[in-house]
């Protein structure tokens, strides 16, 4: 008899198994020399699993350049193996969900190949260095095919976008380390942790009550990707509040569009305003959505400014776990039963509606956070596992998940949300509030209260 687990349970099981396996393999291959040296292992202990997964590299004139890394080594095998991991996860999901693995296999392979195509499109250097991330192209590839020729039945059987994204989120939990929160001490915490929740809640309430956007999940996803850290926050909160795929697509599109503008415009603006580079770095770190774009913009401010920008963003990154959990509890307890008779107590009702895979995400995050703080060796163990393997697999799973979302989204479903223009107004208004409050807090903490501490 086949098991028939709920999708959330299956995603949690598969995700946590992968994290445990990755940690075990990295531990088994731990270095004998200087295992506690951050200088020797700047990205953590090397893990043998890193050779089993990669993505197409950046390229300038020919996509064939994407098949070799910067050192000229071929990445064909690790790319194919990375695609193999996605197929394996998809098959595990089908098996645990009680569906036929064989019937879904051709569709899963095709979705994975389309995800590879999306990565290839995202790797072109103009696209890559102007931060047009792979979710945009994964959605685009899916939308193009799904809306022009449709989804044949054999492909439809392999579309498990939600399962892939949920599994990716559970694996993502291993990267969300609470120990990272203290990297910048009090000024970093004040800048990232006071302003971000204020902007998130204010923007959400403005979307619901002032702009009267009918979809609360859309308001939440736009608010979270704008105030926390872009696409990753949109995915996590979108899953926690059960946003529709077209709402998530819209929020991601808005975030990527404004990230490009802010990445290019903020460094000259900071220079024009004559801001201290450290205050400017904190401002950039607290406001630009995407982590990579923060680093790109921060680099223009010099070493200290760039360091502060990247670290403030890293602190904000670490908030995803808390925010996704809070959103899931709020949605399950207060939003979803709006106007309906509650069955049993609030806690029982909230638990019934709670997206259970968020617990898998939290377990992965708490376990890896606990390991991270145990010793310098353990911190390098966690860093090596996440940078060398789980972050790459999570990227592939999200990419394949977005392809599925694109395939299943009808252009006509996007039209009402796009047509009203209100999500755009919400994003712009929220980002303006974010810019003002973050500049105020960065000036207060890095520019005055702790000025002596942060001066190089």
């Amino acid at each position: 008899m086949r098991p028939q687990l709920h999708e959330d349970t299956a995603a949690t099981l598969v995700g946590l198994t992968i994290v445990a396996l990755a940690l075990a393999v990295t531990w088994a291959a731990r270095p004998a020399v200087e295992p506690a040296s951050r200088q020797a292992y700047p990205k953590g202990w090397p893990t043998p699993l890193s050779s089993t997964i990669d993505k197409p590299q950046t390229w300038a004139d020919s996509p064939l350049e994407a098949l070799c890394d910067k050192k000229g080594r071929s990445v064909v095998v690790p790319v194919l193996m990375g695609m193999g991991w996605v197929v394996l996860v998809g098959m595990a999901g089908a098996l645990l969900g009680g569906r036929s693995v064989v019937r879904g296999l051709p569709g899963t392979v095709a979705v994975t190949a389309l995800a590879g195509t999306a990565y290839l499109l995202a790797g072109q250097k103009v696209i890559h260095y102007y931060n047009l991330e792979y979710p945009l192209w994964a959605l685009g590839v899916g939308l193009l095919i799904g809306n022009i020729v449709g989804v044949p039945a054999w492909l439809g059987r392999g579309l498990a976008g939600e399962f892939l994204i949920k599994t990716g989120l559970v694996i993502f939990g291993a990267e969300v380390l609470f120990g990272r929160l203290l990297e910048l001490g009090l000024p970093g915490l004040l800048t990232a942790w006071i302003v971000t929740p204020i902007v998130l809640v204010t923007t959400y309430l403005a979307g619901v009550h002032l702009l009267k956007i009918p979809s609360r999940p859309l308001c939440m996803v736009v608010s979270a990707d704008m105030s926390v850290c872009g696409v990753s926050a949109a995915i996590a909160t979108g899953a926690a509040c059960r946003a529709k795929k077209e709402e998530l697509s819209l929020a991601i599109g808005l975030s990527l569009f404004f990230t490009v503008i802010m990445m290019v415009a903020m460094p000259p603006l900071i220079a024009w305003m004559g801001l201290d580079p450290i205050v400017g770095g904190a401002w950039i770190g607290g406001t630009i959505d995407a982590t990579g774009a923060v680093v790109a913009a921060g680099e223009a401010l010099g070493k200290e400014g760039g360091e502060v920008a990247a670290t403030v963003k890293m602190i904000q990154n670490s908030m995803i776990g808390v925010i996704a959990f809070a959103v899931a509890v709020y949605w399950a307890g207060w939003v979803e039963h709006d106007g309906q008779q509650r069955e049993g107590s609030l806690a029982a009702e909230a638990w019934r509606r709670f997206p259970k895979f968020i617990l898998g995400f939290l377990v992965a995050s708490l376990v890896c956070s606990w390991l991270f703080t145990r010793s310098p060796e353990a911190a390098l163990w966690v860093d090596g596992t996440t940078t060398g393997f789980t972050s790459r697999l999570r990227g592939w799973l999200f990419c394949a998940g977005f392809v599925c979302m694109g395939l299943q989204t009808n252009f006509h479903e996007l039209a009402p949300a796009l047509g009203s223009g209100r999500p755009l107004v919400l994003y712009v208004a929220g980002q303006l509030l974010n810019l003002v409050l973050t500049l105020g807090m960065a000036s207060l903490t890095f520019g005055w209260l702790f000025k002596k501490m942060v001066e190089p």
């Binding site: 103009v126 890559h128 850290c229 990445m263 680093v295």
Partner: protein, 78 residues
């Protein structure tokens, strides 16, 4: 749409879509890469090893390191 049998107009639109992708990624974007301003931006990012598309800090080429001033004695008020 959910059928496998794509009609001629659908196939035509798909071929046009794919042709547009090939033209943009194979011609337009490589040409843009030769514009001085874009070439400078790309060269600066490559030289400094920055990955602007990192979705999370674990995808950065270099992990952000704790700045040394964090460990200095905390002095409140300037």
């Amino acid at each position: 749409m959910s059928s496998l049998q794509a009609t001629r107009p659908e196939m035509k639109r798909l071929v046009l879509g794919i042709a547009a992708v090939i033209a943009i990624w194979g011609g337009l974007l490589p040409a843009l890469l030769r514009c001085p301003a874009i070439a400078r931006h790309v060269a600066r990012m490559e030289e400094r090893g920055v990955n602007p598309t990192a979705m999370y800090y674990t995808e950065l080429d270099r992990l952000p390191l704790r700045p040394e001033w964090v460990d200095r004695r905390l002095t409140l008020w300037p």
